[in-house]
């Protein structure tokens, strides 16, 4: 039998407290909105689900956090989700860059979907363009945009990004200006 159990905790260490019902409640409350957030960032269901899985695995390890108010846990989950998603995007981008640099990846061919109708391809290309532009923004601006346009309130955005609620407006305004500038720059190039 494949034995992958972690080594038993030393006798002196108290057994971890894990409140399964609290975890379940948090999962059901936050999963749907986090799914929307992760999907916007990553662009596909599988990546979003994987990212959320890792996010909640981390929550399960944070016993002390489970005892905190929902709003605090929600902010933490959004932060972890955005960080994990950004890491995933970064790793994917680096992988593509390496292959492209080596002349080993025909990106145009790789990203095309030859079986799809032209209208779907166009929309897919537009979404890809938006995500490319988002990737050019500073992380905080990108996260602010994604959070706001996923429907989160200024208070929730402030808690997630660790900024004062009064700063969210200016962060958002700058993010939207930068997004528009970069997008138009990308489109005209």
């Amino acid at each position: 039998v494949l034995d992958v159990a972690d080594p038993p905790a030393p006798q002196t260490r108290p057994a971890p407290r894990f409140d399964a019902s609290r975890f379940d409640a948090l999962f059901r409350r936050f999963y749907p909105d986090l799914y929307g957030l992760a999907y916007r960032l990553l662009g596909n269901r599988g990546a979003a689900e994987d990212t959320l899985q890792e996010t909640f695995v981390r929550l399960s390890r944070a016993d002390a956090l489970l005892e905190r108010p929902d709003a605090e846990v929600g902010a933490w989950l959004r932060r972890v989700c955005l960080n994990l998603g950004a890491n995933r995007l970064r790793d994917e981008r680096r992988a593509r860059e390496r292959l492209t640099r080596a002349g080993r990846l025909d990106l145009a061919a790789a990203q095309s979907d030859l079986g799809a109708p032209a209208s779907l391809l166009l929309r897919a290309e537009e979404r890809a363009g938006v995500r490319r532009t988002l990737a050019r923004l500073p992380a905080r601006q990108r996260d602010c945009l994604l959070l706001r346009h996923s429907g989160y309130s200024y208070a929730e955005i402030a808690d997630t990004l660790g900024v004062a609620i009064g700063s969210v407006g200016v962060l958002l305004a700058r993010a939207e200006q930068a997004f528009r500038d970069h997008y138009q720059e990308d489109s005209s190039s």
């Binding site: 039998v1 494949l2 034995d3 992958v4 159990a5 972690d6 080594p7 971890p16 894990f18 399964a20 975890f23 999962f27 999963y31 749907p32 799914y35 929307g36 999907y39 916007r40 662009g43 596909n44 269901r45 599988g46 994987d50 899985q53 890792e54 909640f56 695995v57 399960s60 390890r61 994917e92 680096r94 992988a95 593509r96 390496r98 292959l99 080596a102 080993r104 990846l105 025909d106 061919a109 979404r127 938006v130 995500r131 945009l145 994604l146 346009h149 996923s150 200024y154 700063s167 969210v168 407006g169 200016v170 958002l172 305004a173 993010a175 939207e176 200006q177 997004f179 528009r180 997008y183």
Partner: protein
């Protein structure tokens, strides 16, 4: 009408928040100011346009629908799923209600690898008949890992199919790619840690003497498997003639003529910690390598070459199905796992400093050996040893995989 000199113009952030507040809650002073200040009217208009532009641009990024109750329940259940059907896993009872720190069925379903060509090229490089550790370590090539389950029958079919490649074109091993014999020979030569680092192109890590399991010598024997480039160049006429002679109908489009699949294999360092007792077979091997790159030369894309190779007659249908199911096949290296000999599990694997990486844990069915592979910081690390999986995981927790 203009604002009084004492009235400071709100900044763009305040206007942005004011837009989101809605008419019912918006600050009346800002409304008055907006109606009186031409500069702010301009700012407000710009902020409004930017917000609208962002909203319209980002709106299509959202999912077509929110997850259903059933999908949420499935996602929740996956966190709890402690065992994979083909890899029975025993978890301590105390942890049974805590979500497992690893990816479950999705990872596994997606865990079915890279292009078949890469998998099978990797398989060709595996020294046949080597020890368990060597079998595992010979496959430390990728930047993202996935499992392709293979049975003895499918292994044989894959091997035979790829042996026919030379009938379809030429298989070139230029630029120092060793033959199996040469690779084995190279692995016999011991080098310093510094030399190994130089050859693989990054700082090779070793276990601190105190972290080496009891019974093993603290100083490893270090060897390096050289990397290199393999080219499989297709000859359309040769391929057509081959299949016609065998009565098989295989379409070889003209544009494939002269096209090549190019696989760059990285050099790999192997640190072998051996028993002080010459009669003991106890051993721990730590392998480290860079990443594989794969591509094409000629008029075909990598996608087309992959599709062509996957459609070659003779490849087992279940292997092809696993490979075709890959989502991120451009960056995922399949690890062929013989399910009759090895159990596997995709999971988070913790290294020194509490850093956890997604990887594969493998265990041979005899219970005498285990191995783990992770992709970390752009490199592949593998551990294999004559020990139980839990003991191997302990060793891994003491291994510093460094940073990029």
């Amino acid at each position: 009408m203009t604002p009084t000199p004492a009235e400071t113009c709100p900044d763009a952030g305040q206007w942005r928040a004011w837009l989101d507040d809605g008419p019912g809650r918006a600050d009346a002073r800002l409304a008055r100011h907006a109606s009186a200040c031409a500069a702010c009217q301009h700012t407000l208009e710009q902020v409004r346009e930017n917000a609208l532009f962002a909203r319209e641009s980002l709106q299509p990024l959202g999912p077509a629908r929110p997850p259903t109750e059933a999908e949420i329940a499935t996602a929740r259940a996956r966190l709890d799923d402690p065992a994979e059907p083909a890899a029975p896993v025993r978890l301590p009872a105390a942890a049974s209600s805590r979500p497992a720190a690893r990816f479950g069925q999705r990872w596994r379903a997606a865990a079915a690898g890279v292009a078949a060509a890469v998998a099978l090229t990797g398989a060709l490089l595996t020294p046949q008949g080597a020890a368990l550790a060597s079998q595992f370590l010979a496959q430390f090539r990728s930047e993202q890992l996935a499992v392709v389950e293979v049975s003895p029958q499918s292994q044989q079919a894959i091997q035979q199919t790829f042996q026919t490649l030379s009938n379809l074109g030429t298989v070139e091993h230029p630029q120092g790619m060793p033959t199996r014999g040469a690779a084995r020979e190279a692995s016999q030569a011991s080098v310093s840690l510094q030399e190994a680092s130089r050859r693989v192109g990054f700082q090779v890590t070793e276990l601190a003497p105190g972290d080496v399991p009891a019974g093993l010598q603290p100083t490893p024997r270090i060897s390096v498997f050289p990397g290199g480039t393999i080219r499989f160049r297709l000859d359309a006429a040769k391929a057509r003639a081959y299949y016609q002679a065998r009565g098989q109908n295989v379409n070889v489009p003209a544009k494939f003529d002269g096209a090549a699949l190019v696989v760059n294999m990285p050099a790999a360092a192997l640190l072998s910690y051996q028993s002080a007792d010459p009669n003991s077979h106890q051993e721990l091997v730590l392998g480290q390598a860079g990443e594989v790159t794969v591509g094409t030369e000629g008029n075909v894309s990598l996608d087309e070459m992959r599709a062509f190779l996957l459609d070659l007659p003779g490849l087992p249908a279940d292997t092809v199905a696993q490979l075709k199911a890959l989502k991120d096949w451009h960056t995922t290296l399949p690890i062929p796992v013989p399910v009759d000999k090895v159990q596997w599990q995709a999971r988070g694997i913790e290294t020194k400093g509490g850093k956890s990486y997604q990887g594969l844990l493998l265990n041979d069915n005899s219970g005498v050996g285990s191995a783990a592979i992770v992709q970390a910081n752009g490199r592949i690390y593998g551990w294999a040893g004559s020990m139980k999986a839990r003991d191997l995981l302990d060793v891994i927790k003491r291994t510093d995989v460094g940073s990029r």
